[in-house]
Symmetry: C2
Subunit: 504 residues, 2 copies
Amino acid sequence: MSKILQTVEKEFLEYVKKMTHLNEAVGLMYWDLRTGAPKKGVSQRSEVIGTLSADVFSMSTSEQMKSYIDELCQEQVYSSLSDVTKKTLEEVKKEYERNTKIPPEEFKEYVILQSKAESVWEEAREQSDFAMFQPYLEKLVDFNKRFIGYWGYEGNKYNTLLDMYEPGVTVDIIDATFSKLRDRIVPLLQKITEAGKPEASFLFEQFPKEKQKEFSLKVLKEMGYDFRAGRLDETVHPFAIGLNPGDVRVTTRYVESDFRTAVFGTIHEGGHALYEQNLSEELVGTPLSTGTSMGIHESQSLFWENFVGRNRGFWKHHYASLKKYAGTQFDQVDLDTFYKAINIVEPSFIRIEADEMTYALHIIVRYEIEKGLFNDEIEVRDLPRIWNEKMQEYLGVTPENDSQGVLQDVHWSGGSFGYFPSYALGYIYAAQLKQALVQDLPEFDELLEKGELNPIQKWLSRNIHQYGKMKKPMEILQDVTGEGLNPDYLIRYFEEKYSSIFSL
Amino acid sequence: MSKILQTVEKEFLEYVKKMTHLNEAVGLMYWDLRTGAPKKGVSQRSEVIGTLSADVFSMSTSEQMKSYIDELCQEQVYSSLSDVTKKTLEEVKKEYERNTKIPPEEFKEYVILQSKAESVWEEAREQSDFAMFQPYLEKLVDFNKRFIGYWGYEGNKYNTLLDMYEPGVTVDIIDATFSKLRDRIVPLLQKITEAGKPEASFLFEQFPKEKQKEFSLKVLKEMGYDFRAGRLDETVHPFAIGLNPGDVRVTTRYVESDFRTAVFGTIHEGGHALYEQNLSEELVGTPLSTGTSMGIHESQSLFWENFVGRNRGFWKHHYASLKKYAGTQFDQVDLDTFYKAINIVEPSFIRIEADEMTYALHIIVRYEIEKGLFNDEIEVRDLPRIWNEKMQEYLGVTPENDSQGVLQDVHWSGGSFGYFPSYALGYIYAAQLKQALVQDLPEFDELLEKGELNPIQKWLSRNIHQYGKMKKPMEILQDVTGEGLNPDYLIRYFEEKYSSIFSL
């Protein structure tokens, strides 16, 4: 490569690094707003976030960016670039094309609509009044249909939306996967429901917040979460945020009458955090320094929450300790009763409160609706009816009103279509990755029984975390498991686990 | 004004607003680094701060900025601008000229030297080895001498440095003021020392941190600090930071064996914070939205710390409450004994541990040295000797080593010359403002006795805080007190207070 082109590559990487710096500042302001920023400063802080975000957006769509892309993507030049530069280029090019294909005026209108729609949705949900939200949702869907027009699509219009969250995963793949999953979970769920609900009232006794926190911190530490590169705070809606691999923060929520919120919430967010803490250092300062997709990210949080946190061996080791923190709550409860109680499966209306098995059905309802909307097979005005019908068909329950039904999630009000499938994909990936992990660490259950989580964390970091966006989700899956998306492992996990727990 | 020029004014204000937004983001990152950011993320976060700060610097010295200044400073245009725009223009013009007059290469060299010098100073202080720091300090002084050459000066070279921290205050003014102060404090100090040290051992008993925090929060609230626009955190070095008037944060430090650190520290930082919380809303988004100078800012913190927090009436009201928080520590101590103990005057080596009276002498030592350095009357290599001589002359004590002497402060290692006088000016201003306040609120002492601090806070906000940088320090002083800088009020305060306490 010529000296001049080496300089271009270097300048390009500096340019991109500056964008990551602005994003890191925005990330910290976001975290601060949620963990304790004074109320009176919020509107001004939002303006600051707006300024920095606009800067990043304009850098991503600038003439300068275009010229970097054009120069570096020339065939002979491209082949001489480092792998990190190549992948970075791929990311910013995709972003450039996505952002510049929409006419600026139209995009501005859309941004205004988004923020309006979110506040209307909030009120509509409160009043359980879908009609109030309907015209906004219609407009949001229309905008996205037009965007798909600008962006183009392959095979199915909805693929273009999926691609934003889970590149490489298409309607064809999801259809095959989700229908198999649905067809096997639905009858299993019926059997479990018929088996009757196990004893669980002991879960809901008073567990002091401070003690929950101590236990949560202890588990986080055992998972391998590095407190020199993170911290645990309290928020209404728990989240994990990676500002850089040396600063990955976790938040949780404490409900004194239900310790599960904090404990499983912390393990879940801790799973996300381990991903961000263990990204390769060489990716810092590029857009590759984060999880490769929503779905793979979710696979990490769900792996820890369910395959570790709801595993019998894990509690064989931790139950005595939990009892100590809790006081007398579990004195009369043996391990098996406890294990059964934290694995209750029960159809319910609200996605974020669902157990690990019914959760996938909640997602399938949303996926089928979104796919229908963008293929002109479903009209927005029919959503409440269609939602309730699908809930009845798959989960056997019908929401009593729209705030328990079609209005429960924030996603659509922000124009996020194509996002929901990632959650279910996360479950499927997690089960596949677990299978591969057990090949390498056949003593998986014994490790949990001994409280030795370190080899598990190391395996995940080595096989998944370190790569960041250097590998696409399907590449990760193929490299680690030797196959593509396959729901069989998740199905088998459900069938074996719940047959055993509920003696089906 | 023509349409085109109205557009230029508007664009200019938008441009400046963006700079304040970047500064606000930097401010939050700074606060976060000091209050709990994970250690492993610090170096990456420092890069982010560097990127945003460089952006602000390059905006302040850009061609764009020059063209705004040129266009808007044309006589006919200027006169038609709003007052806020005029003052903003004045600020950015000063900044532009200061920053562009230094050749970029030289400035870059200086920035590198600064950061190197700070870490060398840290080690030199630890090892009490001035020789180690000397070559760096010499270079820092040389750079600043050359900068004064670029910037120009009036009357005295040191005036140019003073102007950065306390515009309008010159060597002539300070000489007259400080010498009068020194000549009156030194003999007073001798008399107090001869009177013997009052009983104070009860100050140093164990006072639980949590209880100190509760008391500190209570006092902050009574001062009028708005917790919807702020928060109190813990740091090694306490500070207050105004991100915007709706988000002004205070930190403090708890020493369980000396409650004074937290209580007086919180009141001091609270005084700074009240300034920033009560800036006029119309200044937000301009560089005018902060205290008008270091000295006036310090006058606010010192007013609260000393004129309120070390006032007998204040403790007449609060002593019972302090006793409750403290446990048994003060059970055998009456109010007068307590009041005497928190007003002990005693010569010591370290500026930041000095009492309100000897503090000014510490500053005068530094001022005389800085003035000598920049007028080629003192050589860096002679500093340890000169420092110790002056300490002996004014305070009657000679430091045992350089880390207790000339190496104790960080300021010079960062190239901050001309900063120190602001601290003593703060004391002088505070006493002058107190005098004016008592004219309007003759019941000042009774208000403190009743715990009614609200009228005091309102008076300060109305007369000082709201203006931000719309008024220069000397304008504030003149408008509020009807005169210029005058040390008599501070001298009288010391003489009356300490004659009474120590029955001189």
